[in-house]
Amino acid sequence: MLELDDIQHFLMARPHAMVARYEFLSFKDPAAGRAWLSGIIEKVGVAGAVRAASETESRWVTVAFTFNGLRALGLDEASLATFPDEFRQGMVARAEVLGDTGANHPGNWIDQTASPQLHAIVILFARDIAERERCKQEHKQFVMQCGGVEVLSSLDLAATPPLDYAHDHFGYRDRLSLPAIEGLAGDEPTPGSGHALKPGEFFLGYPDENGPPNELPKPEILSRNGSFVAYRRLEEHVGAFRDFLRQHGETPEEQELIAAKLMGRWRSGAPLVLAPEKDDPALGADRQRNNNFDYGKMDPHGYAAPLGSHIRRMNPRDTAANMNRRRMIRRGGTYGPALPEGAPDDGVERGIASFVGCASLIRQFEFAQNVWINDKNFHELGNERDPIIGNQDGTLEFKIPKRPIRKKITGLPSFTTVRGGAYFFLPSLKALRWLAALGKSN
């Protein structure tokens, strides 16, 4: 069964953290990288312990490596060659496939994640800002001790107010549609979410929806209980988003409806398929109800949730084939200060910095980017991309089906811009120890 004492907690259990810090690291030489790793392993949280949610548990650190990072630790070429092509190439080389062109091009990224020198990410979760500052200082000291480890960039994350539920800077409720994992106690799928998925869809070494595991990186100790993770730093243009709502809605109610049409849910989380006319915040917050719908039978023409709306693209439910081979686990949070309602855009960068966890980047993450988010002809729409996270250059449109005649918004602005990104491998605890010991016995 699932080896919860070996799998890093990151994709499986959320610690009770309100803040986090990401640090992007480069190793000057293999020994420095391994020294850093050896020292930090004891802080890395495993799924079992974090799920147990003990009040004193604070081993919440997450560690993952790029392909260049595995090489920088001293992993041999024969083993490196067993990793999948897309991971070996890295997110920068896959830019065109992912739609990272124009303003989203890696050449414009600001956090050095596009650099071939990026080797690792360490994520420090903390209960509050004071605790994060303490962890930050401790890690800074530790990095200095290691010598030969450089912090390329870092990012502080904190939940945006109001803090009673998770949402992004645009105000959309987040964490609504997450896949359940078979065999993970307490992880029951919510009504309408389909069955719990085989763990091999997310964790290497387990059966997936297609059968037994195959084609895993070698050696087994390195790949087993690991996952691939795609990092995306997305700036949210809150001022432009609010201007757009005002431009297309005369009253606050009309503006809320436009926001809902772009997403396919009201900002409260209530799905348009179940609440087409009016927001229903109680429905939005109710996990037993807020995913209990389909599209094929309940909204085939998109009169409630437009065919090109964000949630119809990211999870087409019954309107796509092989859905269970395309699911992903999303993690991450918001960064930058909240922009108060009514305030003009202050030009400060704010957004979401998120991770997509899966067993196959090409089959899961890249498929979603390439086919669901950025295919202009998704659902025969002709000239649209995802209105929230698609590559928008001002030439595309967004169609809102409506009787008798649809509403067509032309020249959709871009509400988000990719500011950084990378592919990481998230090893198990055993694999971390094995990597730290490279050059010694093996």
């Binding site: 092509d85 897309e86 065109e96 496939v97 297609n210 059968g211 195959n214 084609e215 796509a320 084939a321 092989n322 081979r325 090409i362 089959r363 890249e366 498929f367 390439n370 086919v371 295919d375 002809n377 025969e380």
Partner: protein, 190 residues
């Protein structure tokens, strides 16, 4: 390649000559599994030509019957491939038998390649490709190897023509539904 404005005009038949190799060098779009063959007035498509393992002809006829039965029983069996037409042939060159598989569809094959593999796995009590020389034995679990075989055996067009260029199968079905609805409306008005 025609620009977007001419692509929207289905009333004007269009033809496009394609350079040797199948790509327009200045407009090669990258797909997840490599460069994507361009969309033409005849939509997307492929022409796979491969030598069959000697003595296996009957398997192809049997598979044809199987697939036909499958589609009859489950008409939306191949829906996710966004097809217009498929044509399968067997022919001989110098005593060797070759299989030709031509498809016209509305999405580049790379987009749905894993779905295609899944469909072949689901419909193929056996798959006909297993009777081709060099077809990867682990195709069911190795989408990458499957698509590499398809790419290696793709014979790109040097010219494609569309009488109603770029129109998708869904658009055609919508137009026919609209026609049927109007006929019905006119009947009701009598």
């Amino acid at each position: 390649m025609p620009d977007k404005s001419t692509q929207d005009d289905w009333t004007k038949p269009a033809a496009v000559a394609i350079p040797k190799g199948g790509f327009f060098p200045d407009k090669v779009e990258q797909g997840r599994y490599g460069p994507i063959f361009p969309k033409t007035p005849a939509c997307y498509g492929f022409s796979i030509i491969a030598k069959i393992i000697p003595g296996r002809e009957e398997n192809f006829y049997e598979y044809g019957r199987n697939l036909a039965e499958g589609v009859t029983g489950t008409p939306d069996l191949l829906a996710s491939l966004k097809l217009h037409y498929l044509r399968w042939n067997l022919f001989e060159i110098k005593g060797d038998t070759y299989f030709q598989y031509m498809g016209i569809f509305d999405t580049d094959f790379d987009k749905y390649t894993e779905d295609a593999v899944a469909i072949f796995a689901a419909t193929g009590r056996t798959t006909v490709f297993e009777n081709l020389e060099g077809f990867p034995k682990d195709w069911k679990t190795n989408a990458g190897a499957f698509i590499k075989f398809m790419r290696d055996h793709q014979c790109p067009s040097f010219m494609e023509y569309g009488e109603y260029p770029y129109v998708s199968a869904d658009e055609i079905k919508k137009a026919l539904k609209l026609k049927a609805a109007f006929s019905n409306m006119l009947d009701q008005m009598q």
